[in-house]
Symmetry: C2
Subunit: 222 residues, 2 copies
């Protein structure tokens, strides 16, 4: 069986899980506590990060972007990037936007500071970092809302990896109860459409030890 080494709330792992699910590829999840630096895992990925995808042949693919590019080349039936060069460029621009810009300005400051820091034993959350995360979240949700309102899907006419990357980050923050859905109706409508897809269901069932999901996290009607 294909294996995905992951952490349940990592948005990069969640993006890959959505991509695998949309492509209807079966996989087994292994919860990899990267901070334990397990020797067998470091032999596969010296950077000791998740996600890592391992095929039944043994081929291991490291890094969420490398995995998504691999999946689209190896299993092209359901495209993650769209058919034209222009669409593919826009999908990859938005994936970079959410994975790097949103990731650094919002997710690292909220999920990283509140959850990862605790898991890694790095002490209490720093109030200034959290404030920066909340301050950055607002304009990011406005940009996401603008994309959701002006296009069928985030990158244009087609559902794509841009939607999965964005939904992965939003879902991690929503698990933590960080999104005020009353203020962002266009984002809510777009997220509800993604949440109701079969590929999304396993994410809604994630259990994280020592951490309860926000009450509305599982609901398709939130």
């Amino acid at each position: 069986m294909r294996i995905l080494y992951h952490l349940p709330l990592s948005p990069y792992c969640r993006k890959v899980r959505l991509a695998l699910g949309e492509k209807r590829l079966q996989f087994e999840l292994i919860h990899e506590r990267v901070w334990d630096r397990r020797a067998e895992f470091e032999a596969i990925n010296p950077a000791c990060t998740v996600p890592v995808l391992q095929e039944e042949t043994g081929l291991a693919i490291v890094d969420s972007s490398a995995i998504c590019e691999y999946l689209d080349e190896a299993y092209p039936d359901v495209s993650l990037f769209g058919p034209t060069l222009a669409e593919r460029a826009e999908v990859r621009r938005l994936v970079a936007w959410f994975d790097h810009k949103f990731g650094m300005e919002v997710t690292a400051n909220l999920y990283g500071e509140k959850q990862l820091k605790r898991l890694l034993g790095h002490g209490h959350a720093d109030g200034a970092v959290l404030r920066a995360g909340y301050a950055n979240l607002k304009p990011h949700l406005e940009y996401l809302g603008w994309l959701a309102e002006s296009r069928a899907w985030l990158a244009g006419a087609n559902l794509s990896l841009a939607d999965f990357a964005a939904a992965a980050h939003i879902s991690t923050l929503d698990f933590m109860g960080e999104i005020d859905w009353t203020r962002h109706p266009a984002v809510k409508d777009w997220y509800a459409r993604l949440k109701s897809r079969p590929a999304f269901r396993p994410l809604l069932q994630d259990k994280v030890s020592g951490l309860a999901a926000a009450p509305h996290y599982h609901d398709l009607d939130f």
Copy 2:
């Protein structure tokens, strides 16, 4: 003419310049002072980052990974990633290693702290950040040396984007005089082979106002 909006010492821009050069694609460089947040540039790239590639058709591709994937799809004659799925996965793993891990642990702490901070008017370099950069540089050069010694090129038998990504970061640090070449002979041998390629020459001629290159930076025999 095709345009690349860039900053001369940005390793992400340098990676794209090497990829364009190896594919023998002509382009004009525009020095984009991103901190000025020029409105015409923000209209092309709301993240206001370089590199951005603009084709003669007007199509703009934002983000260095998106640009390299685009170039390989649009101009497949000289492959940046190699022929097999396994080789492509290894190239992309190493590109992510240098762009993100080396980039955050070394380049951001040295180039970011010494040069970008000054350009952005964010004050003096923080000694603790520089010390972290130097401490991280050593094991990174050892890993790079191990790759260079055990393989023809960094990702395996073929020259690839992994070499360009790594050489881009190394060249920025070498411009600043941060690499002690006497200590890393395998890295030096690999870097000398890259430095002598025609695609590399324009990088060796870069002028940066207010900043002199290390004396050996231009030399093919360093």
